[in-house]
């Protein structure tokens, strides 16, 4: 099958050079959270990033016509599924991108497979998307729970943070993050001295922080997200957790969260991300263009992932000359190395995992920050081959081969 497809691709590619480039129509759907807790780290910013990717690609390839739609899944898997079904069946959408919230992403991934379309995940975290639940139509682009756990957990365990106390959000995502981080910490000689599972959307963390304080652990790992993380760190600054010699490890913190915390509260926090707007000149130039639509905000790695993933998708569609067969496009995406201005060179693995380096950041103190958005300093670069879960450990049927 593979050979037939690649032969076909080759044949069409040859035909293309001789004949005039034919017109190609592609329709993209950005399925995201427009109005709730993930709207800042993805949401309208992801739509803006998709527009930039389309503008850049169609400028170089005028024969490709790209249409863009967007939808709000409201963090409900049933609503997300309904939109996905309608997009594929009625609106003839070829590819869905972004989709924060692992629950929604897993549901959409199944639908995409039955309809043989393409799904590129930038916003969701669960590493199951390229593990037991992997499919031949889904690519997980920007980050995942394993990478977050491994990046932060390993780095801190190796640099003296050998005892850990976990504050864990009491649902599937928090448990997964806690489990993956514990494994990384213990593998690197660390020890977990205690943990507490708090309900989702807890307002006050002071009593959990007192428990963390009395545990004397060197690192307080935050296996939670969004408002819960912000509330933990804010209360931690007040109760003198960091001043008392303990360190916070943010296991899922985005630039938008750091902005909400303010550097006064967030300083010293260690975290892992795969992209940061202020890392080099190309990122800064891209951020300027992005800010034309999102004035005063700073793009997150999820936004950058939407740009990068969409760019690679469009290249692959142009190469196979049709967006109709989702599996064929994904096949092509896995075959060709990725290359774009934001993530540089990379690859897409057999299990659908996009592989690129990750970075360990530390949040700056207010005195070190020179302009708005000047959040991080780079503490370490984690090379691509170490950043993500090894192919054979994910239990993905596609990887066994």
């Amino acid at each position: 099958m593979n050979r037939v497809i690649s032969l076909a691709a080759l044949a069409t590619a040859l035909a293309c050079t001789s004949a005039q480039a034919q017109q190609l129509n592609v329709k993209i759907g950005v399925l995201t959270d427009m109005s709730s807790l993930y709207a800042d780290l993805s949401g309208p910013g992801s739509v803006a990033a998709a527009k930039l990717a389309i503008a850049d690609f169609t400028k170089a390839n005028p024969n490709v016509k790209v249409e863009l739609v967007s939808g709000d899944h409201q963090n409900k898997p049933d609503i997300g599924s309904q939109i996905a079904n309608q997009w594929f069946d009625v609106d003839k959408v070829d590819m869905i991108i972004d989709t924060p919230n692992s629950g929604v992403a897993l549901a959409v991934s199944q639908i995409t497979t039955t309809k043989n379309k393409v799904f590129i995940v930038s916003g969701a975290a669960a590493s199951d998307l390229t593990g037991p639940k992997c499919t031949a139509n889904t690519i997980h682009w920007t980050y995942d729970t394993w990478m977050l756990a491994n990046g932060t957990g390993k780095a801190l365990a190796k640099t003296g943070g050998d005892t850990w106390f976990f504050l864990t959000a009491d649902y599937a995502f928090g448990h997964a993050l806690e489990r993956d981080t514990m494994a990384a910490v213990e593998k690197n000689g660390g020890k977990v001295v205690g943990k507490v599972r708090h309900p989702l959307n807890t307002n006050d963390f002071s009593s959990f922080l007192l428990q963390a304080q009395s545990s004397k652990a060197k690192v307080v790992g935050l296996a939670n997200a969004g408002g819960d993380t912000i509330n933990s760190i804010k209360a931690g600054a007040e109760f003198g957790i960091v001043k008392g010699g303990q360190k916070f490890a943010g296991l899922l913190v985005f630039a938008s969260d750091v902005n909400a915390l303010g550097l006064q509260n967030a300083q010293g926090l260690t975290l892992t991300e795969t992209w940061y707007w202020d890392m080099n000149d190309t990122n800064r130039a891209w951020t300027k263009r992005w800010q034309q639509e999102r004035a005063g905000k700073f793009p997150t790695m999820v936004h950058a992932g939407v740009y990068s993933g969409l760019t690679h998708y469009l290249k692959s569609v142009a190469a196979v000359k049709s967006a109709a067969d989702g599996k064929a496009v994904v096949e092509q995406m896995k075959k060709t190395p990725t290359d774009d201005v934001l993530f540089g060179k990379g690859t897409v693995r057999a299990d659908g995992r996009k592989v690129h380096p990750a970075y360990l950041f530390e949040v700056k103190a207010p005195s070190e920050s020179k302009y708005p958005g000047d959040f991080y300093k780079v503490r370490a670069t984690i090379p691509a081959e170490e950043a993500f879960r090894p192919l054979n450990e994910g239990n993905c049927p596609l990887a066994k081969g």
Binding site: Y38, A39, D40, Q211, A260, G262
Partner: protein, 295 residues
């Protein structure tokens, strides 16, 4: 060291104190709700949104006028209270004769609108607001580290609660108010402007919510959804205390804060639900609430 249920007693004291601090917020918010329900017979579902507006007002005052925490503590509740007065004049006063449900639906709708507007303008992740310099740091009490700000929260909340209770139960103004709820026509006959008094009472209840919002801004995430997460718990507190009972709202507010704090030590997973379990039990045993008068 003395241990209680396997927890060192010193740690337990710390948790009790923290429970009391959280109870301060419950008390402040449920007090506002109780005042509004007791005097206007309106179930004010936009109370959470008004709490959020208080925190946002503090942020905006700092950002655009440079007013810090202390002035904001006065100015923000006044501003938000004025919006409350407008809401009462425009909408609520038309509903007093109707069933409670109409007021509840209206204020719930308003809450969704306020939250939606805030989200549209400021995004969902939240806004930074730091502690005032004068309340930084803390005291080492031996059994725990008590941040100065939290101590201030208890003191301020207790002061406001007791002050409000005193005004309503023991002053002439309070007597007018209570009389106006019992029999507005008769009170009017004495030459008292009842509608204006009711409007100002609603404004005051809303200002209390905004005050709690400013108090929360330095320690909790200032985001559009901060109120909706809290309001359900606060409603449970009001129901347990007895709808409309001022003293009930204050006592149960602090009491449930302590119970919730203890749950966070012994069984953290249940800390969000324990208040509702208590509410169910209270409703079974005393449907009017612990301090409520039977209607």
């Amino acid at each position: 060291m003395l241990e209680i249920f396997g927890i060192p007693s010193t740690a337990l004291f710390g948790q009790l104190l923290i429970g009391l601090i959280n109870g301060s917020f419950y008390a402040l918010l449920s007090l506002g709700l109780a005042v509004i329900f007791g005097m206007l017979n309106i179930i004010n579902f936009s109370h959470g949104a008004q709490y959020m507006m208080g925190a946002f007002a503090a942020y905006l005052l700092l950002q655009y006028t440079g007013l810090g925490y202390w002035p904001a503590l006065i100015v923000a509740p006044i501003l938000v209270g004025i919006t409350g007065v407008i809401v009462e004049r425009l909408f609520l006063q038309r509903l007093y004769k109707l069933d409670h449900l109409y007021g509840l639906l209206l204020t719930f709708g308003l809450a969704l609108i306020f939250e939606g507007l805030a989200r549209n303008k400021f995004g969902s992740a939240g806004l930074p607001y730091t502690l005032p310099d004068s309340l930084r740091g803390g005291q080492n009490l031996g059994f725990m580290f008590l941040p100065n700000y939290r101590a201030w929260v208890i003191v301020a909340s207790l002061g406001i609660c007791l002050g409000t209770w005193f005004v309503i139960e023991w002053t002439r103004l309070g007597a007018y108010l209570r009389a106006a709820t019992e029999n507005p026509t008769l009170v009017r006959a004495f030459g008292i402007n009842v509608p204006r008094m009711i409007t100002l009472t609603y404004g005051f209840g809303v200002a209390l919510a905004a005050f709690a919002g400013v108090m929360a801004a330095p320690i909790y995430n200032v985001s559009p959804q901060m109120g909706s997460e809290l309001i359900i718990v606060v409603f449970a507190v009001v129901v347990i205390g007895g709808m409309g009972s001022i003293l009930g709202a204050i006592v149960t507010g602090f009491g449930l804060g302590v119970i919730e704090g203890l749950t966070k030590v012994f069984f953290p997973e249940a800390s969000n639900t324990v208040i509702f379990v208590i509410m169910a039990i209270v409703l079974l045993v005393r449907p009017a609430g612990l301090f409520g008068r039977r209607a």
